[in-house]
């Protein structure tokens, strides 16, 4: 059992959990992820490591409630525990040592950008951070990121905070203003990462993206996480999750993520009543 020591509600449907997992904390690095299972009948779900504290032996994750398991997790409180917690999995990010790096986070993807910005700043890299969300209330980690980054920009779809529009708009403006950017890291919805790549590719600005494929084991034994990189099949869990964006087949990714949409919807319908029943029993 892995105890939850801290929980914070960051935005509607987005929650942070600091979890006691000393073995994972000892080895964790930016870019890596964990797989957890809430209880005995639970599904294994991957979540990116948003922070870690080796002294305390804790790992922080940020989960957006999109379906059964993330909602199940969302109901847990400090003092509760998750049954299984495995990691750190995947390759650590390969971060540049110098130059100017633009880190782009969209939605819950802002959380995994945070340890990267932190690590880059520790190396003395100049970091321009751009974060985006549907509206102001869905933004997370803005205080921390603003403080860490050399420059910090916000975009919201509805203009409720920062620029109105998408993170790509901000990136485009920076580039049109002839700002020199050596590398871009983009983490967020596949659509966002694809759009960022559409901007950086013609300018030949090397770009890293993090692929959230479907996963089961996270150790290379099932192949559920297959992604096509430069025409070759790779397993996101052991070769990734971060890849050179210019080589990624984003359209295939989008298709593969829809694999379980129908059964998941069915599970939610059933779960909603289970959740309600559980509430009623309290």
């Amino acid at each position: 059992m892995y105890e939850i020591v801290r929980k914070e509600k960051l935005a509607p449907g987005i929650k942070l959990f600091e979890i006691k997992a000393p073995w994972v904390a000892r080895k964790a690095a930016p870019g890596q992820f964990i797989i957890l299972r809430v209880d005995e009948t639970g599904e294994r779900i991957p979540l990116t490591i948003a922070d870690f504290n080796r002294d305390k032996g804790t790992v922080t994750i940020v989960a957006q409630e999109v379906g059964y398991t993330t909602k199940q997790l969302g109901r847990l409180e400090p003092g509760d525990a998750v049954l299984d917690f495995t990691g750190p999995l995947g390759q650590p990010s390969e971060l540049p040592d110098s130059g100017t790096v633009t880190c782009i986070g969209g939605g819950v993807g802002i959380a995994p950008v945070y340890p990267q910005v932190k690590a880059l700043r520790e190396k003395g890299v100049y970091v321009i951070t751009i974060v985006g969300a549907r509206s102001a209330e869905y933004l997370i980690f803005t205080g921390e990121l603003e403080e860490l980054s050399n420059e910090f920009y916000i975009a919201t779809d509805d203009g409720s905070r920062g620029c109105k529009g998408f993170v790509t708009g901000v990136l485009q403006e920076l580039l049109e203003a002839d700002r020199s950017i050596d590398h871009v890291i983009a983490i967020g919805p596949v659509i966002m990462m694809k759009a960022v790549t559409a901007i950086t590719r013609p300018r030949n600005i090397s770009t890293t993206v993090s692929l959230n494929s479907l996963m089961v084991d996270g150790t290379g034994m099932c192949g559920a996480c297959r992604v096509t990189i430069d025409g070759e099949t790779k397993f996101a869990c052991i070769n990734g999750p971060e890849f050179d964006a210019f080589k990624v087949d984003f359209d295939e990714q989008l298709r593969r993520l829809s694999f379980y949409r129908d059964p998941e919807a069915k599970a939610m319908a059933k779960a909603e009543c289970r959740i309600r029943n559980a509430k009623g029993a309290e």
Binding site: E43, D84, C222, G223, T233, I238, S258, A267, A271
Partner: protein, 463 residues
């Protein structure tokens, strides 16, 4: 007096069994077990034992059955085999112990496996625990992977008094026994029972620990105070065909398919949260036990039509005859001498059909089996919505990548110096599928046993 015929194994009716995941082979009752035990000649030179990689004292345990002393039979079995209820079910006995039985000449060897299962189940039901009065040694051994090789090595070392920790990547121990072999052939309750027995010998199992990620082999030796390591991580990396369309939705590796169903219990979705999608028409590619398991699982998940696609002919199929027969009884349609060349999908990216080419058999290859070659211009298609690739697995690269001085072959198998499992790295031993490639439960157990001996010798010499 004429010898009695071999007692047959009672089976569930095929029509009933495709409706659920209950065990197909029902096992002997006491009467059948006694009748079958009577058939054993208690040979002075028991040839059967040559066929058993862990050297079970076959005539001896069968003699105890004859006397009705099942506890004694169990302790004789457990002397050599820590997992009898499992081996009795899944050993390919026709190629092992039973093949060498003197009665095999007449085509009816003693049903050693069925008797072993009978005793194993009896003992599990009794829930008896071993006595642990032996001396405790100070040395610590880390076993990586909790499949049959790791469990056997751990159990034997614990019996010798060593302090053993098994590190397992998954949230449940058992390896292929837990995530691969389906419930209807090997109930998970049985596996859990056998693992409880191993734990009761004093073995500690640490789950959710991916060696190579959470901790490395080097760290286990240098920082965590282990004196030796046994690597038994199996052959879990699935091979794909590398044909167009293989990443369409609806294409699974057998590993993913079986793991979702067995380990994650997707057949109980949504009570268990992991989903599985199986359409009406399923093609399973491959001709081994894994392919049979996937095909039979697909039937139970409601697929109306299940094909097995295999590029050679029936004679070359590596699956057990028995498994092929069971699959056939359950309505699986075998399309032999056919090889996939492409998978075609719908516009939304879902599997629509599989394109195959007919094959013919040419000259024998290194394995002695006739090499299949495509017949030009013979392409045809089958309409399917789910495809399961079961063409084999290789070893996982996580440990070789993260361990200094550990030699592996070109295909990633760990190189061992001798049958005792010594690797190129001091204090590190390996055995099971990670060394041999996909093999059998009992061979993995044999490797685990021999490595336990070697580790004991190493620790005695070194400390």
């Amino acid at each position: 007096m004429p010898r009695k015929n071999r007692q047959d194994m009672p089976l569930l009716d095929p029509e009933e069994r495709v409706l659920h995941f209950g065990e197909v082979a029902l096992g002997y009752d006491e009467e059948k077990a006694l009748a079958e035990a009577e058939r054993c000649l208690n040979c002075k030179t028991p040839l059967c034992m040559q066929g058993c990689p862990v050297n079970v004292d076959i005539p001896e345990f069968i003699a105890a059955i004859k006397e009705g002393n099942y506890d004694e039979a169990a302790s004789i079995l457990r002397r050599k085999n820590n997992l009898p209820a499992i081996c009795g079910r899944v050993c390919p006995q026709e190629n092992q112990c039973e093949k060498f039985c003197v009665l095999a000449n007449k085509g009816e060897p003693v049903a050693i496996g069925a008797l072993e299962r009978f005793v194993g189940d009896y003992h599990l039901a009794r829930g008896e625990k071993p006595d642990r009065t032996g001396e405790r040694k100070d040395q610590r051994v880390a076993v990586v992977g909790s499949g049959p090789a790791g469990l056997t090595c751990a159990a034997d070392l614990a019996r010798m008094g060593y302090q053993v920790t098994v590190f397992e990547a998954f949230h449940k121990p058992g390896g292929v026994l837990m995530y691969g072999i389906p419930e209807f052939r090997l109930p998970k309750k049985i596996v859990e029972g056998e693992i409880e027995y191993v734990k009761s010998l004093g073995v500690e199992i640490r789950l959710n620990t991916v060696v190579g990620k959470t901790v490395t082999v080097d760290e286990l030796l240098e920082e965590h105070g282990y004196d030796a390591v046994f690597i038994s991580t199996g052959a879990g990396l699935p091979y794909f065909l590398n044909i167009p369309g293989e990443n369409l939705n609806g294409v699974y590796s057998a590993n993913e398919f079986l793991t979702r169903v067995n380990l994650m219990k997707a057949y109980k979705f949504p009570e268990h949260a992991t989903p599985i999608m199986v359409g009406d028409k399923v093609a399973v590619v491959g001709g081994g036990n894994v392919a049979m398991d996937a095909a039979r699982t697909a039937r139970r998940l409601g697929a109306q039509k299940v094909y097995i696609i295999y590029r050679r002919s029936r004679e070359e199929m590596p699956a057990r005859k028995e498994e092929i027969a069971r699959a056939e009884e359950e309505g699986v349609d075998f399309r032999l001498l056919a090889n996939p060349v492409a998978i075609h999908g719908t516009e939304e990216g879902w599997v629509k059909e599989i394109e195959l080419v007919k094959m013919e058999l040419g000259e024998p290859d290194e394995s002695g089996r006739r090499r299949p070659k495509p017949v030009p211009g013979s392409n045809f298609t089958l309409e399917v919505d789910t495809i399961i690739i079961a063409i084999g697995q290789g070893p996982n690269p996580l440990i070789p990548r993260s361990t200094n001085e550990l030699q592996v072959t070109e295909r990633g198998h760990i190189v061992v110096e001798d049958e005792k499992g010594r690797t190129s790295k001091k204090a590190v031993f390996a055995g099971g599928d990670v060394v041999t490639g996909a093999a059998t439960v009992i061979e993995a157990m044999g490797a685990g046993k021999r490595a336990a001996q070697a580790i004991d010798e190493f620790l005695k010499a070194y400390f």
